[in-house]
Amino acid sequence: MDLDFTTQENDFRAEARSWLEANVPRTPLPSGDTREGFAAHLEWERLLFDARWAVVSWPVEYGGREATLMEWLVFEEEYYRAGAPNRVTQNGIFLLAPTIFEYGTQDQRDRLLPRMAAAEDLWCQGWSEPDVGSDLAGIKARATKVDGGWLLDGQKTWTTRGAFSTHLFGLFRSDPEAERHRGLTYFLVPLDAEGVTVTGVGRLDGDEGFAEVFFDSAFVSDESVLGGVGEGWKVAMSTTGSERGLTLRSPGRFMATATRLAELFRSRAGSADDVLRETGVKGWMDAQAYRLFTYQTVSDMVETGRPMGVESSLNKIFWSEMDVRLHETALALLGVDGELDEGSADAVDSGAWMKGWQFALAGPIYAGTNEIQRNVVAERVLGLPRK
């Protein structure tokens, strides 16, 4: 065990920090889940890309700098410490990209990854349907084989930032005879294809962060299949592993939240009784524990070459519920100031805690509800019987 960062890792941190200090917008961007905010976030994404900070762990030819996993964690810590904008490209670079690296053809990698890194193609996720949520294997949207490609029909919903995206990755039933996990195929779909209609939907916080996507005999080519016809479930599990596991929610994000919470405690010392202070310190310790757990996980991955398995469900339960508690504590500390929304003149931190609280509340729901994750932990980590 050696918990001191190497000279190379420290140099990497210093370079990231200095670039971020010089370039992170001084005033926070408007929410990336609104049209106006999304455009502002895209400018930021392209600035990141031009400086080769958009996808640090990727190969150089795709716009990265071949950083190690440890360095990626270090970059994430610096990114959120600097208060940099949330990544509107996250569903592409953190969820789809690892799946393309694992299952994509050389042609798909060369064609899709550079444009994704440059925020030219903007990807959203098409999993849920009106009747299909936690029970994802019940997918009804279908793909019908035609000459040279497939026709897609059906509806996807709760598609995050779908209204602002250019492409969708999703699961469709390609074998109408097959049931449940079989007969599904993972498709990469341009949203400007004929027969695709996207409608924005308001999220809890009022932002147009959701979309419904309708497919009416929309044609996609054979090259749009990722990982083989009928292999969709296996390929999708790689994506959900990233979503629950390492890449979507790196520790740097929660450490930054916990640090801001500690600052809030210091600035409102008179508002906190012992009980609230103890709750606050629990949240801060959880953020530290999550960081240590992640370093341990990455060290094991580097040593053994094995990716995170079903343990990603333990991870997802922990970070999502920690995020809720951190924000809940901040709102308790704010008292009557807590309800002031962004845009209100006297809102503390521009209303970031109420905004973040509403976002955090989604955590135990998306990427597979935490009830489902607890079943996964019980059955596949602990070995309890399914039935």
Binding site: M1, E9, N10, V281, I317, V377, L382, L384, P385, K387
Partner: protein, 348 residues
């Protein structure tokens, strides 16, 4: 290309596996229960085997017959001792008394460490804040703190008033003694520093032991929930049971690296250069004890509930682990006490 590495070495993992095998063989629940009934033959045998393996003298320097290894080398072994609910206070002996004697040095260390590490004699430790001394009746030497001095008091110079812990294997004693220049072995800043270090080692070692207790409680409860049928199905197929045990798995999983990092900090100083707050070793140890205590208490609570009435019975072994958790969660600083240490550092 070397990287920061949060992983135990192959040697450390091999040592852990050997200790696990030995303890599984030498310390079944019947040995723990026998100690409750005053029969320590099994305990003496397992202690002799641990001495033979080098666990007890692991922290002593080579000139005293030890392995000259660190808190980081010991932490996984203490977790293994927790898995079997080893009745003897291994934390106070191997993690606290042995390095303390080694650091005091001189004839005290030369005389006592080889005999303690071989199991020939026993040592007890009374740190500030810990009113009662575990396994007091077995000890021949007592390391005690008075003011800014550490004293090494032979059994003959003190009296022990036995106390009855809810965990009978604890064998607590209240030690009556009077400090004298003859028993003083360290004083002033040296003694204060060693006392603080001893407190940190005791808290960290107890945290590791609690992780083992908690993990065992989770394992036996999973086993029981697979076997026990009600309404025609294993009770472990019910989501209400699954979710309780998943919560225990989460709590233990995220407490573990916190305990290992604290062991690293004690052995090598704080790594993971963190500029968020001025973190010291004491903050790392307090995080470890707080999270391990909470995780083990949750494991005990859910283990009892998922076992139902059988878990509540005196004859069933669950209680041996559960009651140890209750005691050790409070020993060497409970979760609230340790959180307050972190709180002062973080929230100001």
């Amino acid at each position: 290309m070397s990287e920061m590495r949060f992983r135990f070495s192959d040697e450390q993992l091999t040592f852990r596996d050997a200790a696990r095998d030995l303890l599984a063989k030498e310390c079944p629940p019947s040995v723990v229960r026998a100690v409750w009934d005053g029969d320590t033959a099994g305990e003496d045998a397992v202690w002799a085997a641990l001495c033979e393996m080098g666990v007890v003298g692991l922290r002593a320097s080579e000139k005293h017959g030890g392995l000259a290894l660190s808190d980081l080398d010991l932490v996984l072994l203490l977790r293994e001792a927790g898995r079997v609910a080893l009745p003897y206070p291994v934390v106070e002996t191997a993690a606290v008394a042995v390095p303390l004697l080694d650091e005091i040095g001189g004839s005290l260390a030369a005389e006592w460490i080889p005999r303690i590490a071989s199991g020939e004699t026993h040592v007890a430790v009374g740190l500030p804040g810990e009113r009662f001394v575990p396994a007091a009746t077995k000890a021949d030497l007592f390391l005690l703190v008075a003011g800014d001095a550490i004293h090494a008091v032979p059994r003959g110079d003190l009296t022990i008033r036995p106390q009855v812990s809810v965990d009978r294997s604890r064998r607590l004693g209240l030690v009556d003694w009077a400090p004298s220049p003859a028993t003083r072995v360290a004083e002033g800043a040296t003694a204060t520093g060693l006392t603080e270090l001893s407190r940190l080692r005791a808290a960290l070692g107890t945290a590791a032991f609690l992780l083992g207790l908690g993990r065992h409680l989770l394992d036996i409860t999973v086993g029981y929930a697979c076997e026990r049928h009600q309404f025609g199905v294993p009770i472990g197929s019910q989501q209400a049971v699954k979710h309780k045990l998943a919560d225990v798995a989460v709590a233990l999983t995220f407490a573990e690296p916190v305990v290992y990092r604290a062991a690293y900090s004690l052995a090598h100083g704080p790594g993971l250069a963190d500029e968020v707050v001025g973190e010291g070793v004491d903050v790392h140890v307090s995080m470890a004890k707080a999270m391990a205590s909470d995780a083990a208490m949750l494991a005990a609570e859910h283990a009892l509930q998922c076992h139902g009435a059988i878990g509540y019975s005196y004859e069933y072994d669950l209680q041996l682990w559960m009651k140890r958790v209750w005691c050790l969660a409070a020993a060497h600083g409970d979760a609230r006490t340790h959180r307050s240490v972190v709180e002062r550092a973080v929230l100001g």
